[in-house]
């Protein structure tokens, strides 16, 4: 028996979320008296693979099949299902991100396993296996019993945190049985923005809304993001107006994020926006309107003009960093 | 009796709401301030089929009932009455009259492009000295054998510039008084037609309103609607339906202002609590809600009578008079609920208040409606 984690990498490096998944699986394994195995698919060097041990993985199945360098839902599913069979895994953990959403449901069918998606913590009971997941776009939580023998969990970002559990990871090469005819998708072109912090992976996100008045005023947001090592985001009206790209749109129908710190500048906080950011650990709101609903969700707030506050904030943070 | 809307009516209501919020709301303040015609909004209105929504599908219309029209007018007017008035004039005044009284040739040539929204229409009745009193028409349509020669000036014409098709009410036999009036379809680009400047209005500033001058405008006889001398009856019948449109518009202005007042009262705090918890505000909102409900019921009743092919002139006059006056009251109170914020453009209610005023004036003032109502109820 074991717990299997799909350890996703990005350009050969594991994502922050991957370490969170291993930490989470390690906690599960302690309660269930078992161990954590991870499966990595793609080109990742040994030094990076060893990092999985730091968070509690005792075994890493390393799949380096070059046919799987880009995501193909079906063959990734086959690889993970075969790894689960080999490791006799009772629980398989994925991240609740685009990749997890693409593969976890397929794996659940292949293994006749119940799936709990968007889980926010460890099980509240092991018998029956009961777990809490987000529903109604974070406006409610559901207690879900997973009844099948094998269970699949996709964990919400920042739901558990990263915890070190130093373990020696035994790295093992793994070649899943995949025929060329199983691969039905062809990646023709990849357009990746490099050198920029990913919105979903960022610890800090600096976001602007209509109160920023226009795209010409985003300089402050970008500068603040740069000094904080943060990603930039925006509210829906801003992306609809074309002030910023749709990729930055956070909210119920855009990206759902959960950074440690979220700055909302000139965002009123429509219920749909809050649905996408309310899981952030700390929310700072700056808005002229003292009654803006964003203040209901915020931990810290300034009632004032975002355009005036941002430069002062930049100066104050620079001062802090200098000391 | 059944107060439940049909599935279709609900869908139309939602479509109108989505349209207004998505296509009109974002620039309504700017268009009002700068008096810019809602070209893009009207284009979308046409695509969605709102301009000929009640016309028989055989002429390219939507074939919807008048109840649906009331619901759609209300939703659009909540956001932008300058767009709603285009819809009202096209549906109620121009298209309805053509569909009801025009002949097949006129329908093919003029109704079809109007019902499909390829063309916009305008209804030319008001004159410098004949507003709500339609009998004293000074514009003449002289019978020249195979054509009419139109001379005179029409005032306060909604869609005057954007329309391609005019329905002109003019006097052919001055000695016969109102029995000598004709309704004539006129292409706007006919030689001899000139427009006055864009009127600088108090509200509905983005709808295009001009006076229209006719100087020896030649129109073929075949463009007359109905029998010779039918024009006055035509105008009166058309206005009966038009009142339902404007009543629904006034209703929408009121309910739009009311919704904003409710939302604001639940957000704004004073003396340590949301202002909706203060009875002074809560009672205002209660009064507004009752008035709006009354107005809506009057509109729906008139629409229902029309859909049942029962007489609806009295009901539509009641709806128009009540809703217009009610909209003025409700929007004034909505501004009051907003306090200082209500007096600035950003919060919309001051604009809605300016828009409400026009509904008491055009397509028959509230006073004229009372003439219609009193004459009907006092008739033996």
């Amino acid at each position: 028996m074991s717990i299997l984690v799909f350890a996703e990498n990005w350009d050969g490096k594991f994502k922050k979320q991957t370490f969170e998944l291993i930490s989470y699986a390690h906690a599960l394994s302690k309660s269930m008296n078992t161990t954590v195995s991870a499966i990595s698919i793609g080109k990742v060097d040994d030094e990076e693979l060893n990092k999985l041990g730091t968070y509690g993985a005792s075994k890493v199945l390393n799949v380096t099949d070059c046919r799987l360098y880009t995501l193909d839902n079906k063959t990734f599913t086959m690889a993970i299902a075969q790894a689960a069979a080999k490791e006799n895994s009772k629980i398989i953990v994925f991240a609740q991100n685009n990749t997890g959403k693409a593969i976890a449901p397929r794996v659940s069918i292949r293994l006749k396993a119940g799936l709990a998606s968007g889980v926010i913590g460890l099980p509240t009971s092991y018998e029956p296996f009961t777990i809490v997941k987000k529903t109604y776009t974070s406006k409610a939580l559901a207690n879900v019993i997973v009844k099948s023998d094998v269970k699949i969990i996709t964990l919400s970002q920042n739901a558990y945190g990263i915890v070190e559990n130093p373990t020696t990871a035994n790295i093992e090469h793994f070649s899943p049985e995949i025929a060329d005819t199983d691969i039905k998708t062809t990646v023709i072109e990849v357009n990746k923005i490099t050198g920029k912090i990913l919105l979903n992976d960022a610890e800090i996100v600096v976001s602007g809304g209509r109160g920023m008045k226009g795209p010409e005023n985003w300089g402050g947001i970008e500068e603040l993001a740069q000094i904080l090592g943060a990603a930039t985001a925006c509210s829906r009206p801003v992306s609809d107006e074309g002030w910023r790209t749709h990729e930055e749109h956070t909210g119920q129908t855009g990206k759902i994020i959960a950074p440690n710190l979220y700055f909302a500048f000139g965002i009123s906080g429509a219920i749909q926006h809050l649905g996408g950011i309310s899981s952030s650990k700390c929310i700072v709101a700056v808005n002229k309107d003292p009654d803006a609903p964003i203040f209901e969700a915020a931990d810290y707030g300034i009632v004032g003009d975002a355009l005036k506050v941002i430069p002062e904030l930049i100066a104050a943070i620079k001062e802090l960093k200098a000391n | 009796m059944n107060f439940e809307y049909s599935e279709e009516q609900k869908m139309i209501q939602q479509a109108a709401k989505d349209f207004a919020e998505r296509e009109l709301l974002h620039d309504v303040i700017e268009r009002d301030e700068k008096a810019i015609f809602p070209t893009e909004g009207i284009k979308k209105l046409v695509e969605l089929g709102f301009l000929g929504m009640m016309t028989d599908p055989k002429w390219g219309g939507g074939g919807m009932d008048t109840i649906s029209y009331v619901l759609a007018m209300e939703e659009i007017s909540k956001v932008d009455s300058s767009v709603a008035v285009v819809m009202s004039v096209c549906n109620s005044l121009v298209i309805w009259g053509l569909e009801t009284y025009g002949n097949d040739a006129q329908k093919e040539k003029y109704l079809r492009p109007l019902a499909t929204g390829q063309k916009i229409g305008a209804f030319l009745l008001s004159e410098p000295e004949a507003g709500s009193d339609a009998t004293s028409q000074r514009t003449t349509a002289e019978d020249k054998g195979d054509h009419y020669l139109i001379n005179g000036t029409k005032n306060w014409i909604t869609n005057a510039n954007s329309a391609s098709t005019y329905i002109v009410i003019a006097q052919t036999y001055p000695d016969k008084k109102h029995k000598g009036i004709n309704a004539i379809i006129v292409d706007k680009n006919t030689p001899g037609i000139t427009l006055g400047p864009h009127e600088k209005k108090m509200g509905m500033r983005s709808s295009d309103t001009h006076s229209v001058m006719f100087n020896d405008v030649k129109v073929p006889k075949e463009n007359r609607i109905g029998e010779d001398g039918f024009g006055f009856t035509f105008a009166m019948k058309t206005l009966d339906g038009g009142r339902i449109g404007i009543a629904s518009q006034a209703l929408g202005i009121a309910s739009g202002a009311f919704e904003r007042a409710v939302k604001y009262s639940k957000e704004r705090k004073a003396f340590g609590t949301e202002i909706s918890n203060h009875q002074a505000i809560a009672f205002k909102l209660a009064d507004m809600a009752v008035k709006i409900e009354n107005g809506r019921n009057l509109c729906l009743k008139a629409a229902w009578l029309k859909d049942q092919h029962l007489p609806y002139g009295l009901a539509s006059a009641m709806a128009k008079q009540y809703c217009a006056d009610m909209a003025m009251e409700v929007t004034t109170e909505a501004v009051q609920v907003h306090g200082g914020y209500g007096y600035v453009a950003e919060y919309h209610v001051e604009r809605l208040m300016r828009e409400a005023k026009l509904t008491q004036i055009y397509e028959g003032t509230s006073e004229v409606q009372k003439i219609v109502i009193s004459r009907t109820i006092l008739k033996d």
Partner: protein
């Protein structure tokens, strides 16, 4: 080509979420129901494809797993432009049940493109499309933000972290779509609303299924502590709080 769009009936996104019976049942009183926003965008794109490739796309079907109360939502999909609809007469209890019912519908017919929204705004399962693909052994692509037909192939854009991939795929396949697939959901026009009445809506009885999961009860997220306000003239204080109190910078 025939396109199938799977639609789910969900509470309007502005709905205040409440539960009844000891937090075991969703309180649907006064709730306005809509087509799940992602599914509605998928349908909009399907209609755009049919309009752009009149010869290539012959028919758009929508399918919903739900009780008769979901029919207004299905009619709206028909008013927007779907040609016909199927309703599987079952109150869906989890993603697997929905996927299983959908797979039965697809097995009985032949669809070339099957589109599902990436998630539904009620259960946020993000699972139906993926499960359906595996049940049918169809290829699937998730997080699709663009789709177009190029000859007998399809060209997709898949959102990945920090960018996109352009993907080629043959039919049949399942596209699990996200925001961006169409700009805005369509508003039905008068003609569409009128025609929706007469378009076929077939009701199919469900196949029996074992549930793997059981939604036993619901909770409300913990209310946040109230917001600490900082004077706009004292931005330094905010930085101080973030550094020393919240320890986030």
């Amino acid at each position: 080509m025939k396109i199938l769009v799977c639609i789910s009936n969900v509470p309007d996104t502005t709905t205040k979420i409440k539960f009844l019976n000891n937090n075991t049942t969703f309180d649907s009183a006064g709730v306005q129901w809509i087509i799940n926003p992602w599914d509605e965008l998928a349908l909009t794109r399907a209609i755009e494809l049919k309009e752009a490739h009149a010869g290539a796309v012959s028919e758009i079907t929508v399918v919903n797993v739900g009780l008769p109360t979901t029919e207004p939502t299905i009619r709206k999909a028909l008013a927007i432009g779907a040609d016909k609809a199927i309703r599987v007469n079952l109150d869906p209890k989890d993603a697997y049940t929905v996927a299983l019912q959908l797979s039965e519908i697809i097995k009985k017919d032949s669809f070339d493109i099957i589109l599902c929204g990436i998630e539904s705004s009620d259960y946020n399962g993000t699972s139906v499309g993926g499960m359906l693909s595996e049940l049918l052994d169809f290829p699937s692509v998730s997080a699709v933000s663009f789709i177009d037909i190029e000859g007998d192939q399809l060209k997709l854009k898949r959102e990945i972290d920090g960018g996109q991939e352009i993907i080629g795929i043959s039919t049949p396949f399942i596209g699990i779509v996200q925001k961006g697939i169409a700009k805005d959901a369509r508003i039905p026009n008068m003609r569409g609303i009128m025609m929706a009445k007469t378009k076929p809506l077939q009701v199919v009885e469900p196949v029996s299924a074992d549930l793997y999961t059981d939604f036993v009860s619901f909770d409300y997220p913990k209310a946040k502590a109230s917001c600490k306000k900082v004077d706009p003239d004292n931005v330094k204080e905010l930085v101080n709080l973030l550094h020393n109190e919240a320890k986030v910078i």
